[in-house]
């Protein structure tokens, strides 16, 4: 067992700087580390058979070169970058990958990964697109297949007990993350958006208990410390697809604003709903991953099968949680950010704007192409937005 000397935010920064480092240590201890893409692969099931789930990302700083051979440039730059890293052997330390039908391009990655990247194990979960009951059953079926696949990989039986324990462990971690997010409610927040992102990224790179231990350390440290973020005029919520590197948030927080809340998948989406413990744990998991996760990739509606539809009612049923966030975290502006070529979020932008306008929250839409250079011109937009809402 490697001695970990640093704690709390220092430890967080270490991991954030070099994510694979800890994963490689764990492998040296004969743990199996499984990479997973986006939020839809069920980490609880991996934990339950003693696998270490490791969230896979691209790298904004690494120019995409190899991937262009296999993926057109007019698709999600995050996934292009991820594939690029794979082709460059930067994910060789993984014992396997798990992917799900998160979006069109996401569903292409497994075929490419299996064909062109050296992989010991891979599994694809074909997550349905609606929240219909039959779709929930289908998701459960998909998870039963995933269970078989995990059992044959590890030679371990995935018993209900183990699964329950894993779900409890992850629910506990979710609770800790929410506790951390509570520290962003005061004005000024006790922890910055940049730091919060680093914490979540770190936690997504560690085994569940280790991540939770780290979270506790961070929470204690942040409560104690005196040198938290300064007071700023704007308290912002950031919405959109994956943000796992800090430049965008740093840019926002270098201006007269604190980023106090998010609705992204390396943030609240991953942690704000607990998984219900059902007799067959797979029922609770299926419900969580299909119905409770808030990524626009799922066709969510208030009550499905309604024969009449009214736009505002539909919006409320889909986005009231944003209104609640805004109230609890005293948000006075929303930044809708999206990666170029992200369709799921692209169609949602004007619709979310409708909802926010309806509850009187100003918002601005920023599109970027997953490069730091592309962020520079956005600075003026954000500052202009802050001037407008002040």
């Amino acid at each position: 067992m490697v001695e970990v000397t640093s704690k709390g935010l220092t430890r967080v920064r270490e991991i954030y700087q070099d994510r694979p480092h800890r994963a490689k240590e764990l492998r040296a201890e004969d743990k199996k580390v499984i990479g997973y893409l986006c939020l839809y692969p069920v980490v609880e099931m991996m934990t339950a058979v003693d696998l270490v789930p490791y969230r896979m990302f691209g790298d904004m700083r690494e120019p995409i070169t190899r991937a262009d051979t296999y993926m057109p440039t007019v698709v999600c730059p995050f996934l292009r970058s991820l594939l690029d890293l794979g082709l460059k052997g930067k994910y060789e330390f993984l014992d396997g990958v798990v992917m799900a039908h998160t979006c069109d391009v996401g569903a292409q990655v497994p075929g490419l990964w299996n064909t062109f990247v050296e992989t010991h194990y891979s599994h694809f979960i074909d997550t349905p697109h609606t929240i219909h009951e039959a779709a929930q059953k289908q998701e459960k079926g998909e998870l039963q297949d995933f269970q078989k696949s995990l059992e044959s990989l590890t030679g371990k039986e995935l018993t209900r007990e183990r699964l329950r324990e894993a779900i409890e462990a992850h629910n506990q971690q979710r609770a800790l993350v929410r506790e951390l997010y509570d520290l962003r409610k005061p004005d000024p927040p006790l922890i910055s958006g940049t730091e919060t992102l680093q914490v979540v990224v770190a936690v997504m790179s560690l085994p569940v208990e280790e991540g939770s231990k780290l979270l506790k350390e961070v929470i204690d440290e942040v409560k104690e410390r005196r040198n938290g973020p300064p007071k700023k005029s704007a308290r912002l919520l950031v919405w959109g697809p994956v943000i796992h590197e800090t430049p965008l948030i740093e840019m926002i927080e270098s201006l007269d604003a604190n980023m106090v809340m998010d609705d992204t998948c390396v943030g609240s989406r991953a942690y704000f709903a607990d998984i219900k413990l059902t007799d067959d744990p797979l029922d609770g998991l299926a419900y969580h991953y299909l119905v409770e996760l808030k990524c626009p990739r799922t066709f969510r509606e208030g009550v499905y099968g309604e024969t009449s539809k009214e736009h505002m009612t539909d919006l409320k049923s889909r986005f009231n949680y944003l209104g609640d966030y805004a109230k609890e975290w005293r948000v006075n502006g929303v930044i809708l950010q999206a990666l170029r070529y992200c369709d799921s979020h692209g169609y949602e932008v004007p619709v979310v704007k409708d909802y926010l306008a309806n509850i009187g929250l100003p918002s601005i839409y920023l599109e970027h192409d997953y490069t730091e250079g592309a962020l520079a011109p956005l600075r003026t937009r954000v500052q202009g937005f802050l001037e407008v809402i002040s």
Binding site: P63, D68, D369, T371, E372, G373, A374, A376, P377
Partner: protein, 259 residues
Amino acid sequence: MAWFMGIDIGSGTSKGVVTNDGKLKAYHLLPSGVNYRIAAEKLREELLAKAGLLPEDIAYTITTGYGAGSVPFSNQQVADIRCCTRGINRIFPSVRTVIDVQGQSSQVIRLNEKGQVINFAVSEKCASGSGRFLDVITNVLQLELKDIGPLSLKSENPVVFTTGCAVFGESEAVSRVAEGIAKEDILAGVHKALADKISALVDRVGLEEQCAISGGGGLNVGLIKRVEEKLGVQLLIPPQPQLINALGAAVMAEEEANK
């Protein structure tokens, strides 16, 4: 003793050659200006003068390049990609991959022993993959295009250009300059970015030794070095890289006449 003419009207420069039993007898370059027809006429005059020929001495003329359509005295038009491989094949028969970096686009082409195209990839409709990217940055830095290659080689630590787009690249370069970063480091970064694009194209068609570079890019030692680093091969550089397509056009003219 048949004579052949190859004309390449590029969007920036027009090039022409005259060959005679497989040997280069005369060549000329001039700016295309705003009227391709006039440029072509002028080019022909110069070529004939240099070769001491009359128009009727030319057995066959093939034109290529962006303005090929507006050349009145052409017997036939041929796509630049084909001319490029014929031209390279005439100079380096052993070459199987050619990297053609032009003002408006870059292309990587694989060819067989006859100089025929067997695979190719063209940079996307975006200035980032073209020599134009270098022009843009050169303007930003207020330099001469001919100087940027050597200057870039002076760089110890190239700036990392995260974006491919020439427009982003421009504003990125501007802010780097404003930050007081040395021109050579910025240039080295730009050359690297372009070299990355090119090597991605090479990945697509597959690299086969020998590999040559042609087009205006073949004059830029900075770019050549970066591409060589990236691909781990030594590039063959023809004496007049920007003439290759014109030469290839003449070679095709020979083929046509011998049919």
